[in-house]
């Protein structure tokens, strides 16, 4: 009988910290150090429930962190059973290409923010935060993830935030995240990183191009159904690529002619 290593086999561990970010979004932290670079993902699993691809929310070398919106069976189970062991395998996928870019404008919508937190931490560790502008759009003030971190980030980098719908206590910007794009036109020769719901990414790209960014310098992190993370299961293709293998981050000019790039 001949045997080989099993890439599907997860390492199991319990989170050391659990924090609710919003009503349906939570952050878990493991004692294990992050061995991935910003933009990559892990497959998280619960025995008997299933497996889900989740982006890493921490910078290289920091405690491995994920911020997760409870929308499916696995992500809800983890929220409701905070003591259970979680299976982890990865990291998989490619990374935000921030090194060497003039200036980075990172645009995150909704639960697209965790890989941007990882980006901030990766860039911070190399002392590059002055080269980063973050535009973050949340649905409403109560849907903002990382409220504490955002206060600190605002002091360290150009961090701008807006909500689709304000409330009486909200003093900041109101409007979808694309309304912040005209304000970053002076960085049009830099790179833009876009991550969030498909409709938000679609309109962000249109607005970026309208304000002088070139399709070669726009990068999208695409979301697809993924069941293996290693180029086998076949669910995550966009055109000739598998998102888990060639992505999740794609240069917009490479995929702009694929009719299925946005949903």
């Amino acid at each position: 009988m001949i045997t080989i290593k099993n890439e599907y086999l997860p390492e199991k561990m319990k989170p050391i910290r659990f924090r609710m970010e919003t009503d349906d979004t939570y952050t878990i932290v493991f004692s294990k150090r992050t061995m991935s670079h910003a933009g990559q993902f892990y497959m998280l699993s619960v025995d008997g429930v299933g497996e889900s691809p989740i982006s890493v929310a921490s910078g290289f070398g920091n405690p491995l962190t994920f911020s997760i919106k409870a929308v499916g069976s696995v992500t809800k189970y983890i929220m409701d059973h905070r003591d259970s062991a979680i299976g982890l395998r990865g990291p998989y996928g490619n990374t935000w290409p921030w090194k060497g870019a003039d200036h980075i404008v990172a645009i995150a919508g909704g639960i697209g923010i965790p890989p941007i937190k990882a980006l901030i931490e990766d860039m911070e560790s190399e002392g590059n935060l002055s080269d980063l502008t973050v535009l973050y759009g949340a649905r409403s003030p109560k849907d903002i993830v990382y409220k504490n971190e955002i206060e600190a980030w605002k002091k360290e980098l150009d961090f701008r935030i807006t909500v689709d719908n304000g409330d009486p206590s909200w003093k900041g910007n109101v409007g979808v995240v694309t309304t912040l794009i005209p304000g970053v036109e002076r960085f049009k020769n830099g790179s833009a990183f876009v991550i969030g719901p498909p409709i938000m990414m679609k309109f962000s790209v249109q607005e970026l191009i309208k304000h002088g960014f070139s399709p070669e310098n726009i990068y999208l992190s695409l979301e697809r159904r993924m069941e293996c993370g290693i180029g086998v299961c076949g669910h995550c293709n966009i055109g000739q690529w598998y998102v888990c293998e060639s992505g999740p981050i794609f240069r917009y000019s490479d995929v702009m002619n694929e009719p299925e790039v946005f949903l």
Binding site: M1, I2, T3, I4, K5, N6, E7, Y8, L9, S45, V46, D47, G48, V49, G50, E51, K69, V71, G72, P197, P198, E223, R224, R225, E227, C228, I230, G231, V232, C233, G234, H235, N237, G239, Q240, W241, P259, E260, L263
Partner: protein, 306 residues
């Protein structure tokens, strides 16, 4: 080197192989041609098996939290079209899926080259039925079995009689192609149209059963899911609605979107990413389709006229 074996020699060859491998073959059981253990060469059927031998390497369903393991198996009677499917899948999943990989490395396939085109078959469009890549390839003409082996397996043929005609496979290939012709692919990867009415036409009668995927010797997609007995991977179908469903929505909500995906993957995406079409012309998807959708129509359709 090509060898010329008699029927008795074939049995001797299989016995040599059986010293290292469990030997399986295509044989007739209850009116179907299936793969199961054989104990003599006379049991081997040269008819096309009812199903492709895909599940020697990708089980219909299995627990993926177990150790990927394989026994050494030899399978005789595989048709060239079905064998070619493995060489195509290798380009994407070999050395990635541990279960496929360990079995692929420990399974010896002995393929039979067809002497007649099967009904509906179009293997000639994809270089068949004589293959360039094989473990051990057999051409049965009259009383003779012409056999050639990849260098890894040449040792099994030592001692048999070298064929006087070393061009027998080349000649057979030419004769077969002359006799049956081929459907010209004609740059199908560039001809297909996203907005073609073919996809909606197929969607009008497709019943989303997935038989085309399950019967296909090149379809490797799997569903990964948990149940009370563990984490499973199971043959999946890109024709089913849930295939691309996510929390953010479904990139292919309509059946026509999913049918188009199946053909784009086979005739465009794979060609672009791997340099090969993901089809062997076996016609199994047509044979097994309950509503007679014919993949050949995707190739022959005049997209320019639309």
């Amino acid at each position: 080197m090509i060898y010329e074996l008699t029927e008795e020699d074939m049995w001797r060859l299989l016995q040599k192989i059986a010293e290292e491998y469990d030997v399986f073959g295509s044989k007739e059981e209850l009116g179907e041609v299936v793969f199961s253990k054989i104990s003599s060469f006379s049991e081997v059927s040269e008819k096309k098996s009812s199903y492709s031998p895909k599940d020697f390497l990708i089980k219909r369903s299995e627990n993926i939290l177990e150790i990927p393991r394989a026994e050494k198996k030899a399978v005789i009677g595989v048709k060239s079209c079905d064998l070619r499917g493995f060489y195509l899948m290798d380009l994407q999943i070999l050395n990635k899926d541990p279960f496929y990989t360990v079995r692929r490395q420990n399974t010896l396939f002995i393929n039979f080259v067809c002497t007649e085109m099967c009904p509906g078959g179009f293997c000639t469009s994809f270089g068949g039925p004589v293959l360039d890549d094989y473990d051990i390839q057999v051409l049965h003409i009259g009383q003779s079995y012409f056999v050639e082996a990849d260098p890894r397996y040449e040792r099994y043929l030592a001692g048999f009689r070298p064929a006087s005609d070393q061009d027998v496979f080349v000649k057979h290939s030419k004769e077969f192609n002359r006799k049956y012709g081929k459907i010209e692919l004609n740059g199908i990867e560039k001809r297909m149209k996203w907005s073609s009415k073919l996809w909606t036409e197929f969607a009008n009668y497709c019943i989303s059963c997935g038989a085309c995927n399950y019967s296909c010797p090149t379809c490797y997609c799997i569903d990964v899911y948990d149940d009370e007995t563990g984490r499973k991977k199971e043959w999946d179908s890109c024709i089913l609605e849930g295939f691309t469903k996510t929390a953010a929505g479904n990139v292919r909500p309509d059946l026509s979107d999913r049918l188009r995906q199946r053909f784009y993957h086979k005739f465009k995406y794979y060609k672009l990413s791997k340099g090969e079409y993901l089809c062997t012309g076996c016609n199994r998807c047509v044979d097994d389709c309950p509503v007679d959708i014919d993949i050949k129509e995707v190739i022959t359709h005049d997209y320019d006229k639309e």
